[in-house]
Subunit: 253 residues, 2 copies
């Protein structure tokens, strides 16, 4: 179930935007009725993706963009010989496929870490969005600039932080994101393997394992059966020397 349409299904049930469960989260901004109206007809359906399935593939031309309604995924690129770099994680409220929509072709792939539900938007309606809904156009730009900001921080991390700092940064980062996206219902468990951590941080699997062990010895986190439990989010953030995610309401579509 690694590629193609395997593991991807249209859902029977379609969540109306008016009752979007994300909108009630404190971290997301509200829509005006006019905006809500537009988004509601911008949305053309819903998809459900199995764990392990590929949502978007590098090189693909997609006629859609998506907002994640539930579940976790990750965005990555491959080198010709198979080396993998994970760029970022995708959580509820995140928009994906914008790059492909604007520039014709995806330059990265996205794979589901858990079962993922997506809202589907028609690329062809983007034009109307820009022409008639300046505030949403602004939001799209904001979203792209925000992703850029996240990538800046990751770059700083991989380029200049030590393995221990990097790992602390990553766990702290994902944990904060999950918290703001209202995922996990309080349980602080992240559905990733050590291979994902390694491929995000530019480390080998073995070294990642040993580094995680050091964090565990300091009681900052614990590796569970399959996934990672955060024990001391502040301690991790401090060890990384990271300022934390920006707060305040953020737009989403």
């Amino acid at each position: 179930m690694a590629s193609g349409t395997v593991g991807i299904q249209q859902t029977r049930w379609r969540t109306p935007c008016q009752q979007c469960p994300l909108r009630s989260l404190p971290d997301f901004r509200d829509f005006t009725p006019k905006e809500l109206d537009f988004v509601s007809q911008f949305k053309s359906g819903e998809l459900s993706i199995e764990r392990g399935a590929t949502i978007l593939v590098e090189g693909m031309h997609s006629a859609h963009l998506f907002t994640v309604l539930s579940g976790w995924a990750f965005r990555y690129k491959l080198l010709p010989d198979g080396r993998r770099q994970i760029m970022n994680y995708v959580l509820p409220g995140d928009l994906i496929g914008l790059q492909g929509s604007l520039m014709g072709e995806m330059d990265h792939s996205i794979e589901a870490l858990t079962t993922v539900t997506l809202c589907v938007f028609e690329r062809s309606k983007l034009e109307r969005l820009f022409e008639r809904h300046a505030s949403l156009a602004y939001d799209l730009t904001w979203i792209a600039a925000h992703e850029e900001r996240i990538l800046d921080e990751h770059l700083l991390s991989i380029g200049r932080r030590t393995a221990l700092e990097r790992t602390a940064y990553l766990l702290s980062f994902i944990h904060q994101r999950a918290h703001l996206a209202g995922v996990n219902g309080g349980r602080r468990v992240l559905p990733i393997t050590q291979q994902h951590v390694a491929d995000t941080l530019g480390l080998s699997l073995v070294h990642t394992n040993k580094t995680l062990r050091k964090l565990a010895e300091r009681n900052l986190m614990r590796w569970q059966d399959k996934g990672c439990e955060i024990l001391d989010a502040d301690g991790l953030q401090m060890l990384a020397g990271w300022e934390g995610l920006q707060r305040g309401p953020r737009p989403f579509i």
Copy 2:
């Protein structure tokens, strides 16, 4: 002259947008008369920055955004203890300060590598741009998404390429960018020090030096008095296993 307003001056001469020298480059898209009109009054002046001066500082709230008219600069972040990571290089045609304009505060700094001339735009007029000029709003989003794409590739580079591959990638990347921006008038010299290369690639200065030496031994490049000369751009790109920059007209403002 590291910070503040030192090294920054308003220029006497102001290039009219109608005669913008960048517009004649094949890589940039054309404006409609209406767009040109707007941009022309969106531009509020010009600044000249000396080599080594800081154009934008992390944490700063700026009322402006800028397009580079001429010169080279670089965008970077610092860790509390002084470790530096260069995120990207800024060349003519590049827009800077968008993040700060959208999100209130810069989260990175920008320093001039050569004398830089900037077109200055008022942040306060951004709103009107989104409301009245959908095509330019689209361009802004495109620009942000494009920068994201570049960062993805850098991340892949730092995370998963070897020191030799990374270095080849960087030189090839900057060289292509310079070529498309019409910089250097055919001379293939990049105005950077080995320290810049090191801080971009997440390597130490010494190791960077030894890696560059290996590239020089293969006749791919040569380090000059102060700066780097590209001898075999294709060879560098191939060694890096990189696909090269996307072609085709790009928007700019």
